[in-house]
């Protein structure tokens, strides 16, 4: 593969790993909340988190652009602390994280629901507080399902296109990902580069999905 194709592949993998790490804490908290608690606005919050699964990715990108643009609420907050988000690698991470989050939440929620509450009750009767119960009983017992969700979300992040294009653009060396690379190389007739990236994305996606499916099996 040519150097720029390597660069795009490595950049995408790095961004996808960071995005997965970024979405992990909120993803696990949301999944646990939805699996274990019923509260006012629970269904609305869950629907909101799941929305990127069903609306066009470019629409998600546009929403993020409005929120993180110069005139957006988060954009102004970021600017006030000297942080530039849109059309930078940070925007790539943000788009990947938002698009991957629903898959992580959905898989992890199912995994948490599978953990028999009796184990948590026993841990409580042994003197453990809620945090200790979560980290020593609930999370380890849901571990396989959560990891399957993490891999699924990572795969989604690697293949992210629409939201990333809207929020981060397609700048060689700074925001170009595998998906946007395939698009642009095809547009300019660089079939070899487009094919190389396509094969790279298939290999990455196949590997992580295969592992995710294995973990999801009992």
């Amino acid at each position: 593969m040519a150097d720029d194709v390597w660069q795009v592949a490595v950049f995408t993998l790095t961004m996808a790993v960071v995005a997965t790490l970024v979405m992990l804490p909120p993803g696990i908290v949301f999944a646990w909340l939805f699996a274990r608690h019923r509260f006012r606005g629970c269904t609305a919050l869950e629907t909101l988190v799941m929305l990127p699964l069903v609306i066009p990715p470019v629409a998600t990108g546009l929403i993020l652009l409005r929120l993180f643009g110069r005139r957006g609420f988060f954009g102004r907050v970021a600017e006030s602390v000297g942080l530039e988000v849109i059309f930078t690698w940070k925007a790539v991470i943000l788009a990947m994280a938002v698009m991957g989050l629903p898959l992580l939440v959905r898989a992890a929620r199912g995994a948490f629901e599978q953990v028999d509450r009796r184990y948590e009750q026993i841990a409580a009767s042994l003197g453990a507080g809620p945090l200790r119960i979560f980290f020593t009983v609930t999370l380890p017992m849901a571990g396989r399902g959560v990891l399957a969700g993490v891999l699924l979300a990572f795969s989604r992040a690697v293949g992210e296109f629409g939201a990333t294009m809207m929020l981060a653009g397609n700048m060689p060396g700074s925001t170009r990902t595998i998906a946007s690379g395939i698009y642009i190389y095809t547009e300019v007739g660089n079939d070899a580069a487009a094919t190389s990236l396509m094969l790279a994305s298939i290999m990455i996606a196949f590997g992580s999905l295969w592992f995710s499916n294995r973990l999801a099996r009992p």
Partner: protein
């Protein structure tokens, strides 16, 4: 070691309700009755896993639940070792990790003593799925003891064991009772077990107390 137990509460569980009004001074108490009598519900209320509608639960002069005083000590602060019928050992931990889960920095001698009394020393590194039914019961009892429990709640500890294993586990229970001098609340539907291990029996049927008194007086009649 005699202890006093106050069970005066009403607990609704769907269509089923448990009403109990007992103050008992005994060494080891049995909740005895057929399946569905409400024995486990009472045990779970004492453990803090179910909340009664109203009433009072106290061990000695320590109120664990009191609707009038607004007291409801969380399960984790009750210092009550609960051994449920379905053993619920943590499957991702080995025997040692299970036994020490609630130990909170208990001295190593305590762990050695508990492991010795329950013959668990050779099994400490084994994973839960490698244990027999009797070994799992002993591990669950050890775990409850190591949590610094002031009282043990045992829910049908001999169920789902073959006759030979039942005899062995019963010997361990007697040994635990003698060695650790710990009050016990024991759930069973079998008179022989209750007679062997407890000195007071509360007989339950359909959520209500039908008899209460010294085991040797109550059980020969049933």
């Amino acid at each position: 070691m005699s202890f006093s137990l106050t069970l005066e509460f009403t607990l609704q569980q769907g269509e089923f309700s448990v009403e109990i009004d007992e103050r008992i001074e005994a060494d080891a108490i049995a909740l005895y009755g057929p399946s569905g009598a409400g024995k486990t519900t009472v045990l779970e209320a004492v453990a803090g896993l179910r909340q009664p509608e109203r009433g009072r639960i106290a061990v000695g002069d320590r109120t664990l639940f009191g609707s009038e005083d607004g007291v409801d000590v969380p399960a984790r602060h009750r210092c009550i070792g609960y051994v449920p019928q379905e053993i619920a050992l943590f499957p991702h931990m080995n025997v040692r990790q299970n036994v020490t889960y609630g130990a909170h920095g208990a001295p190593t001698e305590d762990l050695s003593r508990v492991l010795a009394v329950l013959d668990l020393e050779p099994l400490v590194e084994r994973r839960v799925e490698q244990l027999s039914g009797g070994e799992q019961k002993r591990t669950a009892i050890a775990r409850a003891l190591m949590a610094g429990s002031r009282m043990l709640l045992l829910d049908e500890p001999l169920s789902a064991l073959d006759v030979a294993l039942q005899r062995r586990v019963m010997q361990y229970l007697v040994r635990v009772h003698d060695e650790f001098n710990i009050p016990m609340l024991y759930v069973s539907h079998r008179a022989d077990e209750v007679l062997m291990l407890t000195d007071w029996v509360v007989q339950l049927d359909n959520g209500c107390v039908t008899a209460s008194g010294p085991s040797k007086d109550i059980l020969p009649r049933v």
